[in-house]
Amino acid sequence: MTNPPPMTAPERERAARERGAIDLSCRGPVLYLATSGVFWLLVGTALAVFTSAKLHTPALMAQTPWLFTGRPRMAHLQAVNLGWASLAAMAAVVWLTSRLCRVPVAFPALLYAGGTLWNVGMVLNVGGVLAGDARGVEWLEAPGYAVPFLVAGVGLVSAWTAATFGRRRERHLYVSQWYILAAVFWFPWLYTVAQLMVFGLPGLTRPATGVVQPVVNWWFAHNFLGLWVTPVGLAAAYYIIPKVIGRPVHSYYLSIIGFWSTALFYSWAGMHHLIGGPIPAWLSTASVVGSMMMFIPVIAVAINHHMTMLGSFHRLTYSPALRFTVFGAITYTAVSFQGSVEALKDFSEVAHFTQYTVAHAHLGLYGFYTMTMFGLLYYMVPRLTGREWLSPLLIRIHFWCDAVGITWYFVALSVAGWWQGRMLNDPRVPFGDITEYVLPFLFQRTGAGVLIGLGHVAFAALLVANLGGWGRPRPGGPTYFTGPAAVREGSTTPPPGPLPS
C-alpha cells in the first residue's frame, strides 16, 4: 500500500487534540481495569513466591490447610492469568480500540460493570481455590460459582469492543485491531466452550468423559495463551514500537501473514502437552504439526518487530515503554521458537513432566506478555492521568528486577528441568536422587521470584503515586528516563508513513 502524504502542522494538532479527547473518555474504565489487574498481579506474585518456597521448604506453615502447596499454586495460576493477564488485556483492548477506531468511549458503564463482574469472579475464584473448592483441571481450577461472573464480565467487554468497531471513524484497520477483534471474540467463546465441555451444565449438557476432558483442557489452556494473551500482547507491541520510535511497521504484508497464520495454527497446538499420554496418537501428531507451522507467524512477527526497531535501538536507553515492549517482543520470538521445538516428540520425551515446561510457560507469560503489558502501561497511564511517572529510578529498579529475575528463573529451571527429564528417563536413578538434584534450583526459583516481586512492588508504587497525583504534569511527548533535548526533539518529528492514530 502507498503511504499517504505527511500530515501538515494543523492536521497534526487536530489529531493530537482528538487523541487527548479520546484518552480523557477512556480514563476511568481503562485505569480501573489496569489497576485491578496490577492488584491481582501482586496477589499472584505473593502466592507464587510462597508456593515456590513451600516446594523447597515443605514444613513452611505446615498446619495451615489453605496453604498446602497445591492450593496456593492453583490460586497463583488463576490470579496471574485470569486476574492480571486478562484484566491488563481488557485495559489494553479498551484503550487501543478507542484510539485506533478514533471514537471516544461510549457506554463506560458497560466497561465498569464488566470489570466489576470480573473482579467479583476473581475474588470468588482465588478465595474459593484457597478455601478448598478448586476443580482438578489445570487452568480451569476456578470453582463453579466464580465462572458465571467471569464469563459475564469478559462478555460485556467484548460486546463493548464489537460495538465500538461498529461505530469507528477510522476506516483503515491497523494490525493491532485485527488481533484485538479476533481475541475479544476467541476468549469468551473458548472459556465458555471449555467450561461446558469439561464440567457440563448440570441438567442441561453432559460433560466430556475420560480422556476427552484433558483434550479439551489442553486445547483451552494452550489457546488461552495463543488466542487471548498473545494477540493482545502483539497488538500492544505493534502499537507501542512504531508510536515511540516514530516509524511505521516494517511490512504490512508480513503482518497479514503473521496474523492469519497465528489464527490458523496456534489453535491447533495444544495437544503436545499430552504427548505419550493415553490419547489417540494422531491428536498429538496434529498438534506437533500445528506447533511446527507456528514458525511462520513467529518469523513474520519477528521480522516485522525487529526490522521496525532496526536503527532505533539507542532509544531503549531513554524510553521505558519501549524498553519493556522490546524486551517482550524479543522474548516472544525466543519463546515461540523454543515452544515449537519443545513440541517435537523426541524433545518432549525429556522435557515433558519436568520444570523445563514451567520455565517455558513463564518465559511466555512473563518474559513476553507481562513485560509487553508493562510497556503499554508505561506509555498509556501518563496519557490518561496527565501526570508523568514519579521516579525514573523506580522505573529502572522495576525493569532490572524483572528482566534479571525472569532470566534467572528461566535459566535455572530450564537446566533443572532438562536434567530432571534425563534422570526420569533412566530407571536406574532412584526418584529421591532426582528430587535432591532439583532442590537447589527450586531455591533459586524463590530468589528469582523475590526479585521479580520487588520489581512489581516498585511498579505498584509508581502506579499508586501516579494515580494519587504525585509527579509533575505531563508536557506532552513520550516518557523518558532522562531527557536530553536533542533526543526529545528527534522523536517528535513527524512520522514518515502511516502511523496508528
Partner: protein, 272 residues
C-alpha cells in the same frame, strides 16, 4: 465488504477448524467407550466407577491440587528416545514400577475430572494403589519426610487429629510413628536440653532396657556417646500419652489412592 467482517469470519473459521479437529473428532471417537469385560474368562468389568470414601477422596485430591505434582499416566514401553543408550532408551515408566502396562483411554472412562497431570515433581500415581499399604499412606501423608528423608511433598497434619490416649489403650487406627514426628505435627520435633535431661532422669534405665530388647548392643547411660544413642532411640519411639488418628479427609484420600490401579488389569488395546 467491511474489513472487520472479514476478520471476524476468518477468526471464526480458523478457530472452528481446531475445535472440529482437536475436540469434536476425539469426542465422537472416545466419548462413550464401554468398560472392558472378558466374558470368556468370566472376569469383572474394568474399570469400575468409584464409590463411597474413594469418591470423596478424589474430591480431596482434586481440591488440594495433587495433580500439579503427580501425573496419572503410564507411558508405553515403546515411548522413548532413539538417541539414548540402552537402559534409558524406552519404557522408563514401566521399568520404574509405576505400572505393568501403559494406560489407555479406557482406563479413564469413569474419571471426573481426568487428572492426567503434566508434572512429575513427585512419582506417577496411576497405579499407586498396588504399591503401598493404607498404613504407609497415612504416615506418608501426615509427614512425608518420616518415610522418605528426601521428600519435598508438603505434610498434611491438618487431616489428622492429635488426641490424648484414653484408658491407656491406643486406637488401632493410630499412626505408628516416632515422637519426633508426632509432638509437633507437620514439623520434626526435638526436645530442649532441660526436657531431655528430665526424660533421662525419669525413664533412662527403662529406655535402655527397651533399646536392648530390640537392638544389638547395650547403651552406657554414663557416657556422652551412649546418651546420644539413647536420644536418637527415644525420638523414634512412640509418644505414650498422645496418638495421631486420621480424620475424614485423610481416610477418604487414602481410600482413593488405594483405588488407583489403572495399569494392573490387562486390556486388549494396551499391548505395549
Amino acid at each position: 465488504m467491511d474489513r472487520s467482517l472479514v476478520i471476524f469470519v476468518g477468526a471464526l473459521l480458523t478457530f472452528s477448524s481446531s475445535w472440529l479437529g482437536l475436540i469434536l473428532f476425539p469426542y465422537w471417537q472416545l466419548q462413550d467407550q464401554p468398560p472392558y469385560q472378558d466374558t470368556a474368562a468370566g472376569g469383572e468389568a474394568y474399570p469400575r466407577p468409584l464409590a463411597g470414601q474413594a469418591l470423596a477422596g478424589r474430591r480431596v485430591y482434586e481440591a488440594n491440587g495433587c495433580l500439579n505434582c503427580h501425573s496419572q499416566q503410564v507411558r508405553s514401553q515403546k515411548f522413548g528416545n532413539w538417541w539414548e543408550d540402552g537402559v534409558m532408551r524406552t519404557g522408563a515408566d514401566i521399568r520404574r514400577g509405576w505400572g505393568a502396562r501403559r494406560t489407555v483411554s479406557r482406563d479413564y472412562i469413569y474419571d471426573r475430572p481426568t487428572m492426567l497431570g503434566t508434572l512429575r515433581t513427585g512419582p506417577d500415581l496411576a497405579n499407586v494403589g498396588t504399591r503401598y499399604s493404607e498404613a504407609w499412606h497415612h504416615v506418608h501423608l501426615f509427614n512425608p519426610r518420616a518415610v522418605n528423608g528426601w521428600s519435598i511433598m508438603p505434610p498434611a497434619p491438618f487431616w489428622y487429629a492429635r488426641e490424648k490416649v484414653v484408658g491407656g489403650q491406643k486406637s488401632d487406627r493410630a499412626l505408628r510413628l516416632g515422637r519426633e514426628w508426632t509432638v509437633d505435627p507437620g514439623y520434626r520435633w526435638t526436645p530442649t536440653d532441660d526436657e531431655w535431661a528430665a526424660v533421662v532422669a525419669a525413664h533412662g534405665p527403662a529406655l535402655r532396657d527397651a533399646f536392648a530388647a530390640t537392638h544389638p548392643g547395650v547403651i552406657d547411660l554414663e557416657s556422652p556417646s551412649g546418651l546420644r544413642q539413647l536420644y536418637a532411640f527415644w525420638l523414634t519411639t512412640e509418644e505414650e500419652d498422645y496418638q495421631i488418628v486420621p480424620a475424614a479427609e485423610a481416610d477418604a484420600l487414602v481410600a482413593y489412592l488405594m483405588e488407583l490401579r489403572k495399569a494392573e488389569t490387562p486390556l486388549p488395546e494396551a499391548k505395549e
